[in-house]
């Protein structure tokens, strides 16, 4: 058994923080622990990559941040967002998820039109002004760098566009709710290289306004677009630092082995 002690975990000044966790642990079925005391801080308007092998707990961690794990697992510990511990039972998870959006591994647009995909949640929230909704459709599609490609087929089925476009549509759909944080769970793993690069460009542009936390298996991708990187191993956070430091000057042996081994 390797030594799982943390080698380095970066912290930030309080004013720069967007989100932070303290001793976050996740148990499945009350027995199987997938995450152990993860304490991480996320800086405003940055992209943080979560890396690690399959089963390292990085996805579990990500899905806990907007309480998507509530139904399947027990999440212990604290998640601080705007001065609130949002892992408390009294938190309104629906409101929380409107502020912390999420994009998944496989593109999952609704089997509805492109327009309807974006406005669905807004309509459900009671927004009915058609002009306002149209504006939001255009803005969020522009923000997701998809507008030019789909502006002529807004009323066509979302399933008719390519996988890469579907994924950017999912981003647009998440942005339309106006979240502060975007959680991305291996958003490019189902995409071809061209779509991936488009997606990455989109994310880079979004950094000026949003805080993003992204799980990825792809080391190049992490180095290409992230500012900070956290390395997970067997459910523990081993190292958390600027992306440059993690990749070129890892402090821990396990981190170094993993990065050497999977870069290439």
């Amino acid at each position: 058994m390797q030594d799982l002690e943390q080698s380095y975990v970066k912290t930030f000044a309080k004013d720069d923080l967007e989100l932070s966790t303290k001793n976050l642990s996740v148990l499945y079925g009350g027995k199987v622990q997938k995450l152990f005391d993860a304490s991480l801080q996320f800086k405003k308007n940055t992209i943080t990559a979560l890396i690690g092998a399959s089963g390292s707990g990085k996805s579990t961690f990500l899905r806990s941040l907007n309480r998507m794990n509530d139904r399947v697992a027990t999440v212990k510990g604290e998640i601080w967002f705007h001065g609130l511990d949002v892992n408390k039972p009294n938190i309104n998870v629906y409101e929380l998820r409107k502020n912390i959006g999420m994009v998944f591994q496989r593109p999952n647009p609704f089997p509805k039109s492109i327009r309807e995909n974006i406005v669905y949640a807004l309509k459900a929230d009671g927004q009915n002004d058609k002009e306002e909704l149209d504006k939001i459709v255009e803005e969020s599609l522009r923000a997701a760098a998809l507008w030019d490609e789909v502006k002529d087929k807004l009323d066509k089925s979302a399933l008719a566009v390519s996988g890469g476009q579907q994924q950017r549509l999912c981003i647009a759909r998440a942005l339309a709710v106006k979240p502060e944080i975007l959680l991305l769970d291996e958003p490019a793993s189902a995409l071809d290289p061209v779509s991936t690069s488009k997606l990455e460009d989109t994310l880079k542009q979004l950094r000026s306004k949003y805080t993003m936390i992204m799980v990825t298996h792809n080391m190049q991708q992490a180095s290409r677009i992230s500012d900070y990187t956290a390395f997970f191993h067997l459910g523990h956070v081993i190292e958390y630092n600027t992306t440059a430091d993690i990749f070129t000057n890892p402090k821990g042996k396990i981190t170094e082995d993993y990065i050497q081994g999977s870069f290439g």
Binding site: F81, I91, R142, L175, Q220, S223, I225
Partner: protein, 331 residues
């Protein structure tokens, strides 16, 4: 990657590439977080509350329904024994069924024996056919053939039971009459009708059970040099046995509870069957033909409710057996 230097170069380059000029996002951007909202119930909370409530209500309704069916039928079925003081043992063993004559003439043995007889015989005949069809569909035929038989069984399920009864009445009964004499009504006619009716039930569940046998079992057996049939007999059927048994029990439950088709061909005479072609009566046929002729609250009516209770209990027993066999199969 050769060494750290190379790695550094790649990463530096990648990070340099990050410095693309940020395209200005117009009005799009996060809305300021309303912290108050995070701790207060919202529209969604209420939606969830009502929606969930509706589904609980629906499921609750079904449960109340089942409980009240059991309660009502139980209450009326037990009246025979509680308020009319019929002896339970007498009820189960006496063949004297003439409830209008008083409490010593309430014996359901004829109906019980006949019900079990038609059920068992139908299952006995249907099972080999069902297994043969299921084997044919899963082990022998092409996909086309299997699809064809699938539609055949679905069609057989879909045919209403009165139609089966009518066919039994107009085809099977006259043939039996010709071959064996007598009226033609009786256990044999009912068995043949029920055979066709339970066949699709048993078949489709048997198909499921055979499909559930992992294919590596078959391959392993074939690799050992076993013939197709040896593989089927010693491996596939053996593994699938608990679930085939479940299928047969389901079929028997259907046969036991079938009312109209049986009532049309059984003869409806409360006589102990002395052979397969003598008219008799089952629990269901007696209920069907007599319920309208009795007055609520009288002994003849209560006696019929006792038959209904017996049917209900047997239905529960079949359910229990399915569970039991299912548990055995899991071990």
């Amino acid at each position: 990657m050769e060494n750290k230097e190379d790695l550094k170069k790649v990463v530096d380059q990648a990070i340099a590439e990050q410095q693309v000029p940020h395209v200005k996002l117009n009005k799009m951007g996060p809305s300021s977080v309303d912290v108050d909202k995070l701790t207060k119930p919202s529209k969604e909370t209420h939606q969830e509350y009502w929606g969930k409530g509706l589904t609980y209500f629906a499921i609750g309704l079904i449960i109340v329904l089942v409980v009240s069916i059991i309660g009502f039928v139980g209450y009326h079925g037990l009246a025979t024994f509680v308020s009319d003081h019929v002896n339970v043992f007498h009820f189960l063993t006496s063949t004297d069924w003439d409830p209008g004559e008083g409490k010593n003439h309430v014996g359901a043995a004829v109906m019980i024996v006949t019900s079990f007889a038609v059920t068992l015989f139908a299952a006995l005949i249907a099972t080999p056919f069902a297994i043969a069809i299921a084997l044919f569909m899963t082990e022998y035929s092409s996909k086309k053939g299997a699809n064809f038989l699938q539609s055949v069984t679905e069609l057989l399920v879909g045919i209403p039971s009165v139609v089966y009864g009518f066919l039994g009445l107009t085809i099977i009964v006259p043939v039996i009459r010709k071959l064996f004499g007598g009226t033609g009504f009786g256990i044999l006619a009912a068995t043949l009708v029920l055979f066709v009716m339970v066949l699709p039930t048993i078949t489709s569940l048997t198909v499921d059970s055979l499909k559930a046998v992992p294919s590596h079992f078959r391959k392993a057996s074939m690799a050992l040099g076993a013939t197709h049939w040896q593989t089927i007999y010693h491996v596939v059927l053996r593994v699938a046995t608990p679930r085939i048994l479940t299928a047969v029990i389901f079929g028997m439950a259907r046969a036991f509870g079938e009312a109209l088709a049986v009532q049309m061909v059984i003869g409806n005479a409360v006589l102990m069957p002395y052979n397969l072609v003598s008219p008799s009566a089952t629990l269901t046929s007696q209920l069907t033909s007599q319920m309208g002729n009795t007055v609520m609250g009288t002994l003849p009516n209560n006696a019929l409710w006792s038959l209904a209770l017996l049917l209900l209990i047997m239905s529960l027993v079949f359910n229990f057996l399915v569970k039991l066999v299912g548990k055995r199969g899991q071990k």
